[in-house]
Amino acid sequence: MAAKLQLTDVTVRYGSGAGALTAVDGVSLTVPSGGTVGLVGESGCGKSTIARAVVALVPVASGTITLDGVDHTDVRKRRTREFRRRVQMVFQDPYASLNPRITIGGMLVEILAHIRKLRRAECRKEALRLLDLVGLPASALDRYPHQFSGGQRQRAAIARALAVEPELVIYDEVTSALDVSVQGAILNLLRQLQSELRLSYVFISHDLATVRYMSDTVSVMYLGRVVENVATDELFDHPEHPYTRALMASLPRLGGRRRPVPLKGDLPDPRKPPSGCRFHTRCPVGPKFNPERTVCIERDPQKSAAGKSHNAACHFADAAEDAPGEHVASMPAPAPLGRRKGT
């Protein structure tokens, strides 16, 4: 499959001087035409910044962005109507992303009339088609956002993005603000829309389960960098980077038992990222638990990641003694774990 969107070595900085924050640091991504790339990682890892950079809501400091092989690194090229029509984004919070003063119909007609330049009569017909596409009733046309539930609002936000007939849609945590009871329906809808309209997706979430369901390949991010990038099944069956493994071990499971805490400590201040491997301060196989592994503090594994198995940015990712799961069991827990009570 040809690449629809290609990011190469993209860096995004906020602010300048001592307070500067490099939110995204040399990230490369390839979104295949008609496929989905998942971005997963904890808050502050830079996944949403990538989305905002692609749609030119924040400027890119360095790196290149191409769409269908054509260079769009220059922000002016991404602010054109042409690019805007081809690349769309859906935001996390459907309570904040819909204008409370405009009906759903008014919102869609505005886009259809001013951006797609449809005639009045066509606008209404097209708006109804869009509502039907996302599973909203025709009566939604004359209603305001607050008259809908969270899931319905998110459907309206999806309809708005689809109104310009995009080729690529970026979904930024679109189910995070929704109840578990409606998340599934939204994700099913996104998959169905993708196959019907042949869309390419970038799917961003902190939730491993939804990323797994949506994506063909997944990039795991930590502190502004991609630490592992591989086909979805491969990632979930055999995670290689110790951070990915810790994420998976932290995930609560239905019917699971409490396990030892996989990661100690907090996320470091992204303004002052640790030297060498950025994960070394928390890494369960790194210098904290294996003092002889000073290479993690001294050398950045990012440079040699490309071409490695899973593109894992880790000096010890494929080391035999760190078989998946083992490091978790051998890790000391920070607090004494009590037995379960009250049965």
Partner: protein, 642 residues
Amino acid sequence: MFRAFLRTPSGVIGLAVIGLLVVVMIVAPILWSAPATDVNVAAGGAGPSAAHWLGTDQLGRDILLRVLVATRFTIVLALIAAGIGALLGVLTGSTAALLPRRARSVALRAIDAMLAFPGILVAIFIGTIIGPGATGATIGVAIAVSFSFARISSTLAMSAGGRDYVAAGRVLGIRPFRLLVRHVLPNIADTLVITTTVVIGTAVVDLSSLSFLGLGVQPPDFDWGQMLTEGVQVIYTQPWAAVGPAVAIAITAVAFGLTGEALARNMNPVLWTQSRHAAPRVSARQARRAAVVAAADSVADTSPDVVLDVRDLVVEFPGRDSSVRVLDGVSFQLRKGEFLGIVGESGSGKSLTALAIAQLVPFPGEVSGTVRLDGQDIGALSRRDREAMLGTDLAFVFQDPLSSLNPALRIRTQLTESIRYHRRVGRRSADETAVGRLGDVSIPAPDATLRRHPHELSGGMRQRVMIAKGLMKNPVLLFADEPTTALDVTIQSQIMALLESFNADDGMSLVFISHNLALVSENCARVLVMYAGRIVEDLTTEQLLAAPLHPYTTALLHASPDITAPRTRELTSIPGQVPDFAAMPPGCPYHPRCPLAVARCRVELPPLAERSDGRRVACWVANQDLGPVEEVTRDGSQAPAH
């Protein structure tokens, strides 16, 4: 919208007075121009009489008629001043908001500096430069009020411009001007409208003040301010001469203020489309009430290790026509050391249950029912004893540690205040306890942390501080309301381990409120499933995972994300949505979404019935093996179900 506007009393009064003023503005100069201006010195300085209700001034002109005639001039000047001021201010303010960062902060500081001068001083200054007269005064007042418009519109435009729907508009390629006019301005318009109407009122006062000082309207023209000047000169002999214009000024200012407020309230579609909901049906509510009693009685035993015993907890909020019941007959018990999960969709009453137990339901909510904490009926305690008991035995950890910690206070104050107040612990020993508790929750350098403010800590640290704060009092029971939802999964597992450790050490009980069934199943032994303000199933985690009985529990379980399911399989969700409390369906509130619903579910509310395996289920279909369920009325006698 207009009809809604007329339903607010302040809108009606304000609009009525403004309507009256408009009539006076039009009619008075036509009818009474002559008697208001004709000089008749012989009749000068007279007190109120049948012919002249407010008396006459020194030159014998009727004061009441002069007040009425002056209405047009006064209000027209005020409208012009407010209009020019609003235009100037909104233009400078929204332009300032759109400037690049550095230029913007300079512009905003300049606006702030101008605001620091009292408006009337600015008006006097400018009025003096331009020269005494109506023109100078109007421009002076316009410029004086423009600064507050500029400040308000810049702040509003900046916050509205940062909203996601504006970002979405930019991504869609909507032009900046269109974004401003259609997406930014309408969302700040209500504040600007109320400001404008209030400013019209103050402009009347300001202009009158300028005229009073001799800088405004000059004789032979007259406005209320100028009449006030004349009236004050004779205030001891002829008080009515000053009262007339003063009352006119006050009434006008208040009328515009009231109208502005009502307008602002009714311009927002969120507010005027909300009042259309139907009131809850009385018959359905009565049925629910009867069923509630049955449920409350089914948990009758009280053993000594019960920490919390909740019976028939009800929370009602006053609605438009009748009160709306948002928590309906919640009854459960919690044993010492038990971890109880409460799950359900948003709006199911999970959080409200905890708030109601702790008597923290926000006004104007009303709570009824019995809550026994450590065997003590807290409803029977005096207010002081109840507060002391709730303040020390219960602790809360909320979802967002940033908004539940006070940003202005140091961690030390926030940790120690409750034991210093409730237990009269001295400062030093309270500090010692705080250091100990921070150590317990794995905070490095507790001494230094005590001196910090919340913003200096990370999200995980703040949540640990919140837990430490709750633990300061050695509570018997901790309510954790989505304590890890705002945190990342790696931090989540740390927090859960921490909660469990206190349970193991001190036998603390935990009510864990979460939307995440997997997290609840890993950490809690028993689960309450809530729907639309009621408990629909109360079961052990083993029962939940093996075979839930209520179709809602089953649906929730199936909707929970499963990282091991085949990726090609469609995800499950629950069709439909949570019912609106103001328009609750009759019968079982879940029946519109329930795949198993039968005729009875649509008419009669199923009671929460206890089954032989100890679980409680509120479902006609799940309980059909129990035979006919009997209703119990309030006085305890049994009545057959229909």
